[in-house]
């Protein structure tokens, strides 16, 4: 089973680095989708099945915190886990993110192992969610998730 991953960051370079990190982590990826801000991310979420979102906080037009709030208010989207990958690592930001249901928090600069560990943890839950939504997808094969 492969997962569709949405990477939201206004830096094209950072999106490339995150995609590379995820690809090298061994997580089975179906499709990568990219957004440069929260608005673009929401547009993608409206059209595409996404299993997990990796998002920056500090982005133009719509930042990651507003994206998280909008997702948490939406009946269909709230089950999609969102992981922040951000320089903004103050306790106040983390608490605000937790209040709105963030699934993980990675501080930049990051070690690839940190992203891998959080992603595996979060995708276990996403896998269960996906099976609940799409019971026909279960293959009976052994899965890491």
């Amino acid at each position: 089973m492969a997962f569709n991953i949405l990477v939201a960051d206004d830096s094209e370079t950072m999106r490339a680095v995150i995609k590379k990190t995820v690809s090298m982590s061994g997580v089975p990826v179906g499709e990568f989708h990219e957004a440069a801000n929260g608005k673009e991310a929401l547009a993608i979420l409206a059209e595409t099945w996404i299993d997990v979102i990796l998002s920056d906080i500090n982005m133009p037009e719509m930042g990651g915190m507003e994206l998280l709030k909008k997702i948490s208010e939406d009946e269909d989207l709230r089950k999609i886990p969102l992981i922040f990958i951000t320089t903004e690592a103050s306790d106040a930001r983390k608490e605000e993110a937790q209040k709105h249901g963030v699934a993980g928090y990675v501080k930049k600069p990051f070690q690839p192992e940190t992203i891998k560990a959080i992603l595996y943890d979060v995708l276990e839950k996403a896998y269960e969610h996906r099976l609940e939504e799409n019971p026909g997808e279960e293959t009976g094969e052994e899965s890491d998730f």
């Binding site: 206004d10 830096s11 094209e12 370079t13 950072m14 490339a16 680095v17 590379k20 500090n58 982005m59 133009p60 951000t86 320089t87 903004e88 690592a89 103050s90 306790d91 106040a92 930001r93 501080k107 930049k108 600069p109 990051f110 070690q111």
Partner: protein, 152 residues
């Protein structure tokens, strides 16, 4: 800029450069001689924050340093690197460095970072930075990283 802030800046920037770019910084106490300034092409990245604390930082990356950190960051060959990637990496470096610094200077998270900006400077002389009270210099294998910052 007081010595304690300079020490925190050095520790924070070192962590960012070592973790993300495998690049080691060495703080320079004195300005180098004219022959070692490394005039020429630079990338300037700027980022500010406001709220509980206010500050503004300008980073001046010599071309070779900008290219090296971009190569390390993206894992691409040197001849594949585009100017846009150099600017993007410089902006992201400023974002990571000052975001991490702010986490230490403003642990309550009252201040908010602005979006970092970067531009190419075809001909720049670091000598123009001499006299800036917030000037910090860091030696690297690929030239001197010049940073001018204010924090209040």
């Amino acid at each position: 800029m007081d010595e304690n802030l300079r020490r925190v800046i050095f520790e924070t920037f070192s962590e960012v450069f070592e973790t993300m770019f495998f690049t080691f910084l060495e703080p320079l106490e004195e300005a180098p001689g004219k022959g070692e300034l490394g005039c020429g092409r630079f990338i300037e990245a700027t980022i500010s924050y406001s709220g509980g604390s206010n500050g503004n930082f300008l980073f001046y990356f010599p071309w070779e340093l900008a290219k090296n950190i971009t190569v390390n960051f993206l894992g691409v060959d040197e001849d594949e690197v585009r100017d846009g990637q150099l600017k993007d990496t410089a902006a992201e470096t400023a974002n990571m460095a000052i975001g991490s610094l702010l986490g230490k200077l403003d642990p309550g998270g009252k201040a908010s970072l602005a979006i970092p900006q970067a531009r190419l400077l075809a001909e720049f002389s670091p000598e123009t930075l001499f006299g800036e009270t917030g000037l910090c210099m860091f030696g690297t294998e690929f030239g001197i990283l010049w940073v001018v910052g204010t924090h209040a």
